[in-house]
């Protein structure tokens, strides 16, 4: 059940162009699951027109958190909101990650690239609460792209870090770090969120290693709640390839379901 309401912005933290907002919304907080998202109104004028989809980064008590990176005009306007302001949000939307009872006691990889870490923190906490042992992979272009690393560690998670420029953590793509780690241990499941090339590479690795996995996809969204058919991706389900709605049938899909399409990389 979707809710449409005003949520008060109660705290703002920021690092360069990354922002962590804490919003007061008891209704959303108590219904939310990791991997779900909000549609947020960023402007009061018709410019930009559409809401912006942002994942839930945390839900606790009456509060939810979002973690986002300024990517363009919409997220820039969002980043300018001040504590005390009301945000116009819709949510929680979409299907989240599945948290499987059989993962109890097992190691699980959570791989986030850049802003893709947003839903994974929430997921990792829920996995831990369910008895699984999440290991967080957190990759970025540079050290400044990993503002949450200390916080994740302070929360008791095992966090493996990589940067493309080698400024901190292991140098290179986070996918190489996953590959290296797979030589040491085998997780029972892999969850990922990040840029398409990262997820596509992870999908390849998972297929090779015969690992089960789930991916959270991004897509341009018109509505966020299934009304426009604008957000579709090609998905393999029941032996058929179909355009399914990322907002409603996703944004999380399983390894076997996602059809990576050359054309949509750019």
């Amino acid at each position: 059940m979707v809710i449409d309401r005003q949520a008060r912005l109660v705290a703002v933290e920021s690092w360069d162009d990354y922002f962590l907002f804490t919003l007061e919304s008891p209704q959303i907080a108590c219904q939310a699951r990791p991997g779900q998202f909000l549609m947020i109104r960023v402007s009061e004028t018709s410019q930009p027109l559409l809401r912006r989809p942002i994942s839930l980064h945390q839900a606790q008590g009456p509060h939810v958190q979002i973690f986002f990176q300024v990517a363009g005009e919409g997220t820039r306007l969002l980043s300018m909101k001040k504590t005390g302001q009301q945000l116009d949000i819709l949510g929680p939307l979409g299907n989240g990650f599945t948290i499987r009872p059989e993962l109890r006691g097992n190691e699980v990889f959570c791989v986030g690239g850049g802003r893709g870490i947003a839903p994974l923190y929430y997921l990792a906490r829920e996995l831990r609460a369910s008895g699984a042992r999440p290991i967080i992979f957190y990759g970025g272009r540079s050290g400044t792209d990993l503002p949450l690393k200390d916080r994740l560690r302070a929360d008791g998670f095992e966090v493996l870090i990589s940067t493309d420029d080698g400024s901190i953590g292991s140098p290179g793509f986070v996918t190489s770090l996953v590959e290296a780690e797979l030589k040491k241990r085998r997780p029972a499941y892999l969850y990922a969120c990040g840029p398409v090339p990262m997820m596509e590479k992870l999908a390849e690795i998972c297929r090779l290693e015969n690992l089960k996995a789930e991916f959270s996809l991004e897509s341009m969204m018109g509505c966020g709640f299934g009304a426009c058919w604008g957000c579709v991706k090609k998905i393999r389900r029941n032996d058929q390839e179909k355009y399914l709605k990322v907002c409603q049938d996703g944004p999380v899909f399983s390894l076997e379901e996602v059809v990576w399409q050359e054309s949509e990389h750019g």
Partner: protein, 303 residues
């Protein structure tokens, strides 16, 4: 208490606000937001005989105060609609309308005929104006002749009232409206989207998988309003106006220009409550202006 009802002749609406096809899913998507019976009515997403895959993504681009879409009428087809969706809408005290599509004239007639055999449909909206399904963005509503032929054929196939949806991508929309009227349409609705495009500078490719798409939203309102004004003076059948309606004030402009009712499209995405807010806004405006029946506003523009 203001009387918000409007009488289209073939159909009475409890208020003049309808949700536009393609922006309201099959109606069910909006149940979480409000009671659908508060609406004047809604038009479900366009349907063909068979399920349809739709166009290759990306399908949406935001533009200044506008949205380009190239969905390409993805949908479950009329059979699945009647089997799975219609029963869930059964008994709703609001006008449920179906947007009828076809590859060629025959298919339009067959879809209409199929729907005509089912209960719970107040009217059909003939979508001869989608710019996303034929080569080069072309559509039957771009010529009076093919409009006449298609409407005629569909009229013969069903006794359900017919609203013909017009395309803005024409030189003279009044000629097309008159052709639809002559062929027997009960009403016309306008406008569908304007054929448009956007390019990604980095990849040097069109931003839409389908190259071109249809522009909607506030950006197009001034064009839509002009066309509604022109068509309302050219035909006798009721005109249903749309294109960038986001507020009660927008809706009132369309009514003054001659629209008997309005449809709200893109606004449903930005604010799922948009139709409801517009209905309340019409009510308030009428009260503040001492207007007893909202239908008095239709065509009240002073020239």
């Amino acid at each position: 208490m203001v009387d918000l009802s409007v009488d289209l002749g073939f159909l009475k609406l409890k208020n003049p606000v309808l949700a536009a096809s393609g922006t309201f899913g099959y109606g069910l998507e909006f149940k979480p937001f409000y009671d659908l019976e508060l609406l004047g009515g809604f038009v479900v997403k366009g349907l063909y005989l068979k399920p349809r895959e739709g166009n290759r993504p990306p399908r949406l681009v935001e533009t200044p105060s506008g949205l380009i879409n190239s969905i390409g009428l993805q949908g479950i087809g009329v059979e699945a609609f009647c089997r799975e969706v219609l029963p869930q809408l059964a008994g709703l005290k609001t006008a449920v309308m179906v947007n009828v599509c076809g590859e060629e004239e025959d298919e339009y007639a067959r879809v209409a005929e199929y729907l005509g055999r089912h209960q719970g449909i107040a009217a059909l909206e003939l979508n001869i104006s989608c710019p996303n399904v034929r080569e080069g963005g072309r559509c039957p509503a771009q010529s009076p002749e093919s409009t006449y032929r298609t409407v005629k054929k569909v009229k013969q196939a069903t006794s359900l009232p017919l609203i013909t949806k017009l395309s803005p991508n024409v030189t003279d929309i009044t000629a097309v409206a008159r052709a639809a009227e002559e062929a027997g349409t009960e009403a016309v609705s306008l406008i569908n989207t304007l054929l448009a495009m956007a390019i990604d500078l980095e990849t040097r490719k069109p931003k839409l998988g389908n190259v071109m798409g249809g522009l909607s939203g506030p950006a197009i309102k001034p064009i839509a309003l002009r066309m509604v004004f022109q068509v309302a003076r050219a035909v006798k059948v009721p005109v249903i106006g749309m294109g960038g309606i986001f507020s009660a004030a927008d809706a009132l402009e369309f009514m003054m220009a001659g629209a008997a009712a309005v449809q709200v499209g893109t606004a449903n995405f930005v604010d799922p409550d948009a139709c409801l807010k517009i209905i309340r806004g019409l009510q308030d405006w009428a009260e503040n202006h001492g207007i007893e029946r909202i239908s008095e506003v239709t065509g009240s523009l002073q020239l």
